[in-house]
């Protein structure tokens, strides 16, 4: 029998009011990719933190191969100890030092020195080599603050690999990167596995899991319900049911009625913005879900920001319910025009991490909750919030809990609940399901359909093509700050995805002279 690269035995960990891990065990073998699955809040991230010295477990032990090759118990008192023990990790949230360069973020744990001082030249070279190994084309001396979240994640992976790594723990590494970048990541993962490393992989995307993992552990409510089993022994549905704890039927796309009114709720004609958009035309009718697809950096987020007044529209026209409008702030967008905007960056823009759930959810409705001399009834506020907590099945211990203490997926739901509470007539949703588990995604889809059926106009921005093809009625494709084209959604994944990729491709091809950025990525998406 091979000696495990890492073995965790009956790890327990409690936070005030939550038992996040309850005697969880896990065996990672060398040369294997181990999937760690579970719903939001199941304890996946907590387990990874317990294995890397971030949290000290309340009970249980961790074993690594000792000098004699036999498993020996180790005390990982802090992250540095874990790193020195050959455990590399990429946490779920981005952890970069924004004031530093890419190179320095990679080498920070082990800065090369010469003659008593840091050898910056060597640091850059080593970082560059590390990035090259990941096939990432980034100048190591770029300030990291200039990178996108996906690029930062790649840098973090480079950092995890920078030191001698036998065990690599990846917490939802593919949640917010493009398919092309995911493929690149998996190539590296596969290579590392072939070289004998052991990889732990957390994802809510089961397709990926089946394509690349060989072993699986499933957590539910802090307990392991399936422990270090061969993945091939379990079907997709079986795994889902294990995670959820009951049978979860398959999702059927409803037969949605055609939009009731033909007058668009939101309409852009030949819009130019300070963000750099040119001649963007787009419309969403009440009861309609319009998907806005594109590659990372195509300018979809910026378009959403321009609609709600965070960028200026310099030419063209924006009509809300037929009336030409100029929106200057999110406040106007919400309270005057009934437009809600769920941002993609929940940690920095979506939720107030240090505030209670109540305050997070109710922020958009205070003007309406006000009674008499400007006072808000705490009771009415709680009732309202309780309704949305129920509706979205947000896992909280109390409404007073700080949003920052929730698992990532639940934070995302809080950020969504805030906008649903405001009951807008037009809802713009940017990357809504990043890091959300399957069941919640389902209920989220159903919610979106229901909202549309109730007459809401929904503009959905997502990089998950499958999601887009499932949800949208119509899909507009954006490429480099312009609309490349628009298609009615047939809900047929294969044909639809082909068509959309072709659309991006032809748009990119027609501007080859403009320096075709991201063209290869366009091809990759089809994979």
């Amino acid at each position: 029998m091979t000696v495990p690269a890492l073995e965790a035995r009956t790890i327990s960990k409690s936070f005030p009011g939550v038992k996040a891990l309850d005697a969880v065990s896990l065996t990672m073998l060398p040369g294997s990719v181990h999937a760690l699955l579970g719903e939001n809040g199941a304890g996946k991230s907590t387990l990874i933190k317990a294995l890397t010295g971030v949290h000290r477990p309340d009970g249980g032990c961790i074993l690594l191969p000792g000098a004699d090759g036999r498993p020996a118990e180790v005390q990982l008192t802090d992250p540095a100890a874990a790193r020195d023990a050959g455990i590399g990790v990429v946490h779920q949230e981005r952890n970069v030092i924004r004031g530093f360069t890419v190179a320095e973020n990679i080498v920070l744990g082990r800065m090369p020195r010469r003659a008593g001082r840091i050898d910056w030249a060597r640091a850059r070279d080593e970082a560059a080599a590390c990035l090259a190994q990941l096939e990432v084309d980034l100048d190591p001396s770029t300030p990291i603050a200039e990178l996108s979240s996906a690029q930062m994640q790649l840098v973090e992976i480079a950092r995890a690999l920078f030191t001698e790594t036998r065990v690599l723990l990846l917490d939802e590494p593919t949640a917010s990167i493009s398919a092309a970048e995911s493929d690149r990541l998996f190539r590296v993962v596969d290579r590392l596995r072939d070289e004998g490393a052991s990889i732990l992989f957390v994802s809510h995307k089961l397709e990926e899991v089946y394509a690349h993992c060989d072993t699986v552990t499933v957590l539910r409510d802090g307990r392991s319900v399936l422990e270090s089993q061969p993945l091939s022994a379990h079907s997709h549905d079986e795994i889902v049911d294990t995670m959820v704890g009951r049978a979860l039927g398959s999702l059927t796309v409803p037969d949605r009625p055609a939009p009731r009114s033909s007058a668009p709720a939101l309409e852009l004609t030949a819009v130019t913005t300070t963000a750099g958009h040119h001649g963007v035309s787009l419309s969403v009718r009440p009861g309609e879900i319009v998907g806005l697809y594109g590659l990372v950096g195509a300018g979809r987020t910026e378009l959403a920001r321009a609609i709600v007044g965070l960028e200026r529209i310099t030419a063209g026209e924006l009509r809300v319910e037929g009336v030409p409008t100029r929106i200057r702030s999110v406040r106007q967008a919400l309270h005057r025009h009934g437009i809600g905007y769920v941002t993609e960056n929940r940690k920095e823009e979506g939720v107030f991490l240090e505030q209670s759930i109540t305050r997070n959810v109710a922020v958009t409705v205070w003007p309406e909750l006000q009674r008499g001399p400007g006072l808000i009834s705490a009771r009415r506020e709680r009732e309202l919030v309780a309704r949305f907590v129920d509706e979205l099945d947000i896992r909280i211990s109390s409404q007073n809990q700080l949003a920052g203490r929730l698992s990532g997926g639940n934070q995302q739901k809080v950020s969504l609940a805030k906008w649903l509470a405001a009951s807008p007539r037009i809802l713009i949703i940017d990357e809504p399901t990043i890091g959300i588990d399957l069941r919640t995604k389902r209920s989220f889809y159903e919610l979106i359909w229901r909202l549309a059926d109730e007459g809401m106009a929904i503009l959905l921005i997502s990089s998950d093509l499958a999601e887009m093809i499932t949800l949208a009625d119509r899909i507009a494709v954006m490429d480099r700050f312009a609309i490349a084209g628009e298609r009615t959604n047939s809900h047929e994944y294969d044909s639809m995805s082909q068509e959309i990729i072709r659309l991006i491709h032809s748009h990119a091809g027609s501007h080859a002279e403009a320096g075709a950025v991201g063209t290869e990525e366009g091809i990759d998406v089809a994979g």
Binding site: P16, H55, S329, E349, F352, W366, L375, S397, A422
Partner: protein, 362 residues
């Protein structure tokens, strides 16, 4: 995972610790120095100081709630007091009108500060520091120009009643109130109640707190953050002016040195009371208790007649020991359940952060 009972939650707040420390201190002081209970000469001046500095603390708390700072609290107090002084001295206005004018002046200077911050996006520390310098230049110049002896000394009717009288001058049917409680507590209690109500129950108060928690998220949630920033600084200026005027009524005249001692104290109260420097959380009662604690310590040392060197050393040491006791209690509470990683950092200006709670050694 239900809510802990309110009482238990309250016992775990810094407020409870402060009350406990204050009660113990007062008990010890009374036992060792019975003169501590002297109404007119110990308690009344002590309470007067507490009321004035509570207002100062609240002025700072206003901007702390949005994650800002007001380095110019003292100078804004001086400015507001100056306006009141001028209105009594040069225009012979009655008390109420002069007070109002002073508060308006404070509000105006606060609003200007807030507007500059909101418009330029420059850190509040720098803007208020610059503002304090500018006022430090302006106020004495005005005093020199408009007064003899650099002070406004005209007292309208009711001036001494507000600043230097106690409930002993409030008599009903032959019964007079205690001499230990100055009349000044009345307006200050009202102010505390209003500020408490603002943060507890009104939309503006909550919007201030959310702006302090994360200004980007607040803007993206439809909160008019620029207006809230101006609002917080305006209220801060108003309260600072109020404190300056109250101080002037208690010492007897309006001088440019009013507010000199405000800046550090203004931070001590809120921070001891649990208000976060990073914004997003405030406590009115905590601010009051924090101020009370420091002033009771001072008064106690004063009664023992300790020299200035010992006074300072003891003040510092008692502060540290009292707060360390708080930490020990917290650690005990958590023993067995080591604290987790701190949540993500707030995005407001955070000039001070204690290091993240790393695991407490078992």
């Amino acid at each position: 995972m239900s809510d802990r009972p309110a009482v238990v939650r309250w016992l775990a707040t810094p407020r409870f610790v402060l009350i406990a420390i204050i009660v113990v201190l007062v008990a010890v002081l009374t036992a060792v120095k019975p003169s501590f209970l002297n109404g007119a000469f110990v308690l009344a001046p002590l309470i007067t100081s507490i009321t004035v500095f509570t207002v100062v603390g609240l002025a700072q708390m206003m901007v702390l709630s949005i994650g800002h700072m007001n380095i110019a609290v003292g100078q804004m107090a001086a400015f507001g007091a100056m306006a009141s002084g001028i209105s009594f001295d040069l225009f012979a206005l009655p008390l109420a009108a002069g007070l109002l004018l002073g508060l308006v002046a404070g509000a105006a200077i606060g609003a200007l500060t807030g507007w500059i911050i909101a418009r330029t996006g420059v850190n509040s520390f720098i803007v208020t520091l610059a503002m304090s310098f500018a006022l430090l230049g302006l106020v004495p110049t005005v005093y020199s120009a408009l007064s003899t002896g650099s002070a406004f000394v005209v007292k309208p009717e009711g001036f001494d009643l507000l600043g230097r009288s106690s409930f002993s001058s409030v008599c009903l049917a032959g019964w007079c109130g205690p001499a230990a409680i100055p009349l000044m507590v009345v307006p200050v209690l009202v102010v505390m109640a209003l500020v408490g109500l603002l943060y507890q129950r009104t939309r503006w108060g909550r919007e201030l707190l959310l702006t302090g928690s994360n200004v980007t998220a607040a803007e993206l949630s439809g909160i008019p953050t620029a207006r809230r920033i101006v609002m917080a600084h305006t209220l801060s200026g108003t309260l600072a002016a109020l404190a300056g005027i109250l101080l002037a009524t208690s010492i007897g005249s309006f001088t440019p040195s009013i507010g000199d001692e405000f800046m550090l104290q203004s931070f001590v109260g809120p921070i001891l009371g649990g208000t976060l420097l990073a914004g997003g959380y405030v406590s009115v009662v905590g601010t009051f208790l924090g101020i009370t604690l420091t002033l009771v310590i001072r008064k106690g040392l004063e009664l023992f007649g300790v020299g200035i060197e010992t006074l300072n050393v003891l003040l510092g040491v008692i502060l540290l020991v009292a707060l360390s006791a708080d930490r020990v209690r917290e650690i005990r509470l958590r023993r067995g359940r080591a604290p987790g990683s701190a949540p993500g950092r707030p995005s407001g200006s955070t000039p001070d952060r204690t290091p993240d709670a790393e695991e407490v050694p078992a």
